[in-house]
Amino acid sequence: MRGLSLELRQEAPIPLDIALTCAPGELLALVGPSGCGKSTILRSIAGLYRPRVAKVAVDDEIWTDTSAGIRVATWMRHVGMVFQSYGLFPHMSAIGNVEAALATPDPAERRRRAAALLDQVNLGGLEQRRPDQLSGGQQQRVAVARALAREPKVLLLDEPFSAVDKLTRGRLYEELAGMRRSLAMPILLVTHDLDEALMLADRLCLVQRGRILQQGRPLDVVNRPTTPEAARVVGHRNIFPARVAGHRLDPPATLLDWRGRRIEAALQPAWSVGAEVSWLIPPSKVVLHRRDRPSRGEAENPVAGTISSFVALGDTTISAIVLDGGEPRRLTLHVARHAAERNGLAAGVRISVSLLAEAIHVMPAQRPRYRRDEVPR
């Protein structure tokens, strides 16, 4: 098999139950909250961490196979790793750092190749600077050049953008996206920033408590999470329980019974009628009804309630609504600031909204938060 295949399992000290693959040239983003084990996955691939049960194979080479007692030392694996704070050698110049990873025996040739790599990451002219004389973004570029100098069979990026300011980050995203076309190895990017993963990744893998919650095309994972747990990890807040009441073909819709209220969702015929489910709607797909022109019932999935909290964040506003009809969870609504002002949105104000049916996504019912054998941390 070409590319990376990985299996990690252990109970403690860091719970891991991971199986994944990454094709040559593919960028796989591992996304999850801090401490979910995503960095441990990268360190296991590099051989810097040894889980109880592990199998790491890249192309035709087996790097780790605990069942066969195989463990190739880190320094013998062709792995390029960019660390969160880069791990540059502080006593070496930029070019010295890159040369340190080159196996080329001829010093002149080594210097030439290191200089070419620094050029590739737009650091030409700064070869002789030591890390403490470089900005954060420049240090990150040295780290990337050094990782590539190793001629890696797999490139591991551990939160490589987290230590730079937003402006620099934008440029680094562009540079990585540009450079990717020339990279033929599997690339794993660990990040807690979903937007970063959406921008850069071919595939997204949600990790929580050492388990993969969901993987797939980034937009699919974000818009169509397969479980309420995954939905919460990608930031969905409007998750509610319902029962499937039926399917309608013309116009197509799946009908949900939500605490006695009938709502229409995009047709998702795989759900059997009567099934207990969860459903979600992104806050941007909850549409405010104009308060000066109350709905006469023709609107899509109309619901009403009272604003319990109202926050303005720059150009947008976030309202939490206590709904009529006994739903204990609040509905979150994003409204542009000018529209919020025009409609007089504020805490305590009664409003009605529409839930856009096309954006309602149905998932299995919420499991109890913790299994009995799982102690919440």
Binding site: A46, A73, H78, F83, G87, H91, A101, R150
Partner: protein, 222 residues
């Protein structure tokens, strides 16, 4: 001035430091990076010479290295001589009582190297030995230098252990510190004062030089 004693002290200090260099780097590195069962005990044993009265340490070394001890007998079988009251025995004692001065600064300086830097060395394809030579020692060398200087100065000045294990045999075990004591006992204040001043000067210069170098390195790597 007892030049023989000065020469002997210098030889003892240089040989002690040379022997401590690999021990300090090896053990200091292990204590810095590894965690293992009984690590606290090893660290306590290494630090013990710091707090033990030199005469107590000297007594136990005398017992441990004496002709009745396994070490003493092994030495006798190998070299046909005894270990205590010889220069070689003094060297062994000197290495042991200098362990904390060598290991602790080296351990601290290895500990100060960020894990990511060490991991990066491995990811760059450096073998452990190569990483030690190209990354770790260049970063840890102020600690190594401190260890060498402290070991050197401390060996020159050690008195109690030397007297217990070596006695005061001219040209064999009489170090400059012991010689100063002898001179004072003999009311030869001039010689004692000269030798003391020399010892003071050597110690001051070596310590000042270390501070100077480690500060310069600190600035460079800041």
């Amino acid at each position: 001035m007892d030049w023989d004693a000065l020469w002997l002290s210098m030889s003892l200090a240089v040989l002690t430091v040379l022997a401590l260099l690999p021990i300090g780097i090896g053990l200091g590195r292990v204590l810095a990076y590894r965690s293992f069962r009984g690590k606290e005990i090893v660290e306590a044993l290494v630090a013990l010479p710091l707090v033990l009265p030199p005469t107590v340490l000297g007594y136990y070394l005398l017992v441990a290295l004496g002709h009745a001890s396994p070490v003493g007998q092994l030495w006798h079988a190998a070299f046909g001589s005894q270990l205590v009251f010889t220069f070689e025995g003094l060297l062994v004692a000197s290495i042991i009582f200098n362990l904390p001065f060598a290991i602790q600064p080296i351990q601290r300086s290895f500990e100060a190297i960020p894990v990511e830097v060490r991991d990066a060395a491995a990811c760059c394809g450096m073998s452990p030995w190569s990483a030690l030579g190209r990354v770790e020692l260049p970063l840890a060398w102020p600690g190594v230098l401190t260890a060498l200087v402290l070991g050197f100065a401390h060996t020159l000045g050690e008195f109690g252990v030397v007297l217990m294990v070596g006695g005061s045999i001219p040209g064999e075990t009489r170090t400059i510190a012991v010689s100063i004591y002898d001179r004072v006992q003999a009311f030869d204040d001039v010689a004692a004062a000269r030798m003391s001043a020399l010892l003071l000067a050597i110690s001051l210069v070596t310590i000042a030089a270390t501070f100077h170098f480690s500060r310069r390195v600190g600035r460079r790597l800041g």
